[in-house]
């Protein structure tokens, strides 16, 4: 049976966005999301891995090799994740929908014009 459709919550969306530029480990994503959202979205370690497991079960991300395994100390070895083609397509779809909304908002003067 194909994986169930997963509703993209802000957490799922930001996690997918983190992986758009390449494989990352969980803690790295946690820090990146916090920085990107100016602390508005702060994930705890447990909910971070819970969300990753949901995305993995939905077939949107998958585990991968560390980009530089030799660079990591043995005790610091972490699990890395990357987007699957389905995950990338879903992210693109979501970003497209958001861009559409932003364009509408801009047309109604709710945002500064694009430079």
């Amino acid at each position: 049976m194909p994986p169930r459709e997963l509703r993209l919550t802000p957490t799922f969306f930001h996690l997918l966005l983190c992986l758009a530029e390449g494989p990352k480990h969980g803690y790295g994503m946690m820090l990146e999301i916090e920085e990107r959202t100016d602390g508005a979205l702060r994930l705890g370690p447990s909910s971070l891995y819970y969300s990753l497991s949901r995305l993995e079960a939905a077939g949107l991300i998958e585990e991968t090799e560390a980009p530089d395994p030799a660079g990591e100390a043995r005790e610091e070895r972490r699990r890395y994740y990357r987007l699957t083609p389905a995950g990338r397509a879903r992210l693109r779809e979501e970003v497209g929908a958001l861009a559409h909304v932003v364009a509408h908002a801009r047309a109604r003067g709710l945002l500064a014009p694009e430079r």
């Binding site: 049976m1 946690m30 820090l31 705890g44 370690p45 447990s46 909910s47 819970y50 497991s53 972490r78």
Partner: protein
């Protein structure tokens, strides 16, 4: 180096996670919490513990849901999907046999519907009163049911009602028993003894003994 208290609590909570999740992510969760603690000097201790507790609830509740409602619904959907796929395969590979099955099923469904329509029209006709919907139910206690099947709206009661215009409900009783007379929104329980018929007339509560019997209380 010894872990701070909140990491020790976190490790304890992680042990309560479902095995599949714990074995896969437990170490990463604790490692991330340690890294976060080092980076923030313990500023997030409460967040880490609360987050672990909330996740514990989410994990077990989603697991319980999968094991019950979600699992059953998915299995049923899966069974239906596989049955439909099988049916389509049969029709495609053996069109003659598939068509015969479809026609047989259609005829059976049609015949069934026709039989019940006729039975409903002939046997289950509306009771012959101006406001049959006002006659809701006439029930008798089990003792009467055991001796004679007078529970519910029976032919006997129907006959009594037909013979007595203006009566909304009746109960036929055979021995010492009680009966509920229910008419519209009004209900009353009468104590009856002996053989007889209890009637409730329209407009007012009226129980009358129609035939021989020791009495109605």
């Amino acid at each position: 180096m010894r872990d701070p208290l909140h990491i020790a609590i976190l490790r304890l909570i992680v042990r309560l996670y479902p095995a599949e999740f714990r074995l896969r992510h437990g170490d990463d969760i604790v490692a991330s919490a340690r890294a976060s603690w080092r980076a923030t000097r313990g500023a997030r201790a409460t967040l880490v513990v609360l987050d672990a507790i909330v996740t514990l609830g989410r994990l077990w509740s989603s697991r319980a849901f999968e094991a019950t409602v979600g699992g059953v619904a998915r299995r049923a959907a899966g069974m239906f999907a596989s049955d439909a796929a099988l049916a389509l395969r049969v029709v495609r590979r053996r069109p003659l046999q598939g068509t015969a099955i479809v026609i047989t099923l259609a005829l059976a469904l049609g015949a069934n519907a026709a039989i019940y329509t006729v039975a409903h029209e002939i046997l289950l006709d509306r009771v012959p009163y101006d406001s049959p919907e006002r006659i809701m139910q006439v029930t008798s206690p089990p003792v009467v049911l055991r001796l004679a099947p007078t529970g519910g709206f029976t032919w006997g009661i129907d006959k009594v009602l037909t013979d007595h215009p203006g009566v909304e409900a009746a109960a036929i009783y055979y021995e010492d028993a009680g009966a509920n007379l229910v008419t519209g929104v009004e209900a009353s329980r009468v104590r009856i003894t002996g053989l007889g018929v209890v009637l409730r007339r329209a407009g007012r509560a009226h129980a009358a003994r129609q035939r021989a019997g020791p009495g109605v209380q």
